[in-house]
């Protein structure tokens, strides 16, 4: 276990440096390391490297780090949500948060609401309607007996169709094509807006969320066995599920605000991790976020490089990798959670 964690931390470190080094303007790997070292230790660099320093430190590093944070957060949330609703097809967006966020994002892009917030208008709009949508799902799914998994999934899915319809309507009513295009681009996920300012909130929320989930790994195991079993093992199931709902919605809301709705990461990485280490959340929860972080760093590298100087939406690339991966998974015996 320690070995696997160290290996994945190593892979992530290499991925981050590689992610910073690679791009339309390539900075050699060694030079990247030198520049990063200088930046962190406060060393000096020759004046003729100022341009490359700017690319490495101001443009790429925050973006690569944000990719790692988003990948880690979505993977951890995916693990928790799949256990919380005991559904293999659940992902961080199953509770309607991404479709809800898309309403806010398209409203900002096409109707020009929240313009006073400048560059933060899109993420603020997305965050607010995303959380609004989740609250609506929560209130609709709630019954006297608490939140049951099936009701949560059905309510989330049903309301998501409604939110998507509103977002689509906004796109079609858009006065000019550019607004619709930027809304669509955001919906498919992009880290193009990453900068040092967008990093702290996302990092703190994601890290705190992952620590919380890791501390509840054994309770998640019990919950995965069924509500009644978890109850007999001393888990206060309704309260625990409500806490999980709030934590996962909080992380997802923040991540969607900074990166749009990046698909497949939160669905695939939990399954891939379980295939390697089994279903026990004490192993899945530390490993899935590390794997997801590296994964999204490379996806973002591909997004920047494949059609340079144009950028591809992250969702297009995760889907291109995720769909075949998923079909392979489904065809491989009767796949169950953690089937090895």
């Amino acid at each position: 276990m320690i070995g696997k964690i160290s290996a994945l931390v190593g892979v992530l470190a290499v991925s981050v440096v590689a992610g910073v080094s690679l791009g339309p303007v390539s900075v050699p790997f060694g030079l990247t390391l030198e520049l990063l070292h200088a930046a962190v230790t406060g060393g000096t660099i020759p004046a003729d490297l100022a341009g490359q320093y700017h690319i490495v430190w101001d443009i790429r590093l925050p973006r690569v780090l944000l990719a790692a944070v988003v990948g880690a957060g979505l993977s951890a949330v995916g693990v928790a949500i799949q256990a919380m609703v005991r559904n293999a097809l659940a992902d961080p967006y199953v509770l309607g948060i991404s479709s809800g966020a898309s309403v806010g994002a398209t409203a900002v892009a096409t109707l020009g609401v929240l313009q006073g917030l400048g560059v933060y208008a899109l993420s603020t709009g997305a965050f607010l309607t995303g959380l609004g949508a989740t609250a609506l799902v929560y209130l609709t799914a709630r019954t006297g007996g608490g939140l049951t998994p099936l009701r949560l999934v059905l309510t989330g899915t049903a309301l998501a169709y409604g939110f998507s319809a509103v977002a689509m309507l906004l796109v079609f009513q858009a006065p000019h094509g550019e607004a619709a295009r930027s809304a669509m681009f955001w919906l498919l996920g992009s880290l193009g807006g990453a900068n040092w300012q967008s990093l702290p909130v996302a990092t703190v929320v994601t890290a705190a969320g992952i620590v919380y989930l890791m501390s509840k790994a054994r309770q998640l195991n019990a919950l995965a066995m069924g509500d009644e079993t978890a109850t007999t093992l001393g888990v206060a199931v309704n309260r625990f599920r409500t806490h999980l709902f709030v934590v996962t919605a909080g992380i997802t809301g923040v991540l969607v605000a900074v990166s749009g709705a990046v698909g497949f990461v939160g669905l695939m990485l939990p399954h891939l991790t379980r295939m390697v280490v089994g279903a026990d959340h004490r192993r899945v929860l530390p490993l899935a976020p590390l794997a997801g972080a590296s994964f999204l760093v490379w996806v973002d590298v591909a997004a920047r490089m494949l059609a340079a100087p144009e950028e591809l939406p992250l969702g297009v690339i995760t889907a291109a990798i995720g769909v075949p991966c998923f079909i392979f998974l489904m065809r491989r015996r009767a796949y169950v959670f953690g089937g090895r």
Binding site: A222, A224, E228, L233, G234, G278, A279
Partner: protein
């Protein structure tokens, strides 16, 4: 440890259920839909009674936040999709207790040995046969170190050998056992006392000899039964006529 079900009612399902078990094996029998599982679900807190209470050593189970340290249950829940290993499943029994890795490992190993599934420890739980799964779930309950064990039809889907196995195991633990059983002959063999539920109400209670009489069987189950005495154990056993009484 003493479990008391005190005038428990769940609207429309069971009414005025009062029974207890105190360091003995107590069985609940009755036709399908008579409220057996509902009664048990009130005991292991999956349901909160509309009226009455379940007490454990005199204290309401809903006030006991650490109830899982004293009471373990095998429920009917069986739609597990997560592929845990056998030892991971058994380890879940340690969840209610304060963590103590060395002791947890020992208790889990002992539990696996008690139900004779050590050789399956690293196997996937989902790959096991019904009998093996039930044994593993009992091992989980043992790892919980309960003083009360609640079993909801623990012999379901098991062949006769494994039915006897599971009930002997439960009985051999020497704790209070409250179990729902379908098979009246197994109930007579393994329970110190039996309660009969019919349409949500208790209609009889007592030792197997007192309860399993043809009149009651006819009234509750609508079958004609003949009572014989088991040649070696001496407990009452039932033989049934083919015709169902109206």
């Amino acid at each position: 440890m003493r479990v008391e079900v005190d005038q428990v009612a769940i609207r429309g399902i069971v009414e005025d259920i009062t029974l207890h078990a105190d360091n003995e094996v107590v069985g609940i029998v009755g036709p399908n839909g008579s409220g057996k599982s509902t009664t048990l679900r009130c005991v292991y807190r999956a349901l909160k009674p509309d009226a009455g209470a379940v007490l454990i050593d005199g204290e309401n189970v809903h006030k006991r936040h650490d109830l899982a340290r004293d009471l373990a249950a095998l429920t009917q829940e069986s739609q597990v999709e997560f592929d845990f290993t056998v030892s991971e499943v058994v380890e879940m029994g340690r969840l209610p207790h304060d963590r103590d890795p060395a002791r947890d490992r020992r208790v889990v190993a002992d539990a696996l040995a008690t139900v004779d599934v050590e050789h399956l420890a690293e196997r996937s739980f989902l790959s096991l046969s019904g009998g093996e799964r039930q044994r593993v779930l009992i091992a989980r309950a043992i790892a919980q170190e309960p003083k009360v064990l609640v079993l909801d039809e623990p012999t379901n889907h098991l062949d006769i050998r494994h039915q006897l196995d599971v009930l002997s195991l439960a009985r051999g633990l020497g704790v209070t056992v409250l179990t729902v059983l379908h098979d009246l002959n197994l109930a007579a063999s393994f329970c110190d006392r039996l309660h009969v539920l019919d349409e949500g109400r208790l209609v009889a209670g007592g030792t197997p000899e007192e309860v399993l009489v043809p009149e009651l069987i006819a009234k509750v189950f609508h079958v004609t039964a003949h009572v014989v005495t088991h040649p070696t154990t001496g407990v009452p056993q039932l033989l049934f006529d083919q015709e169902v009484t109206p």
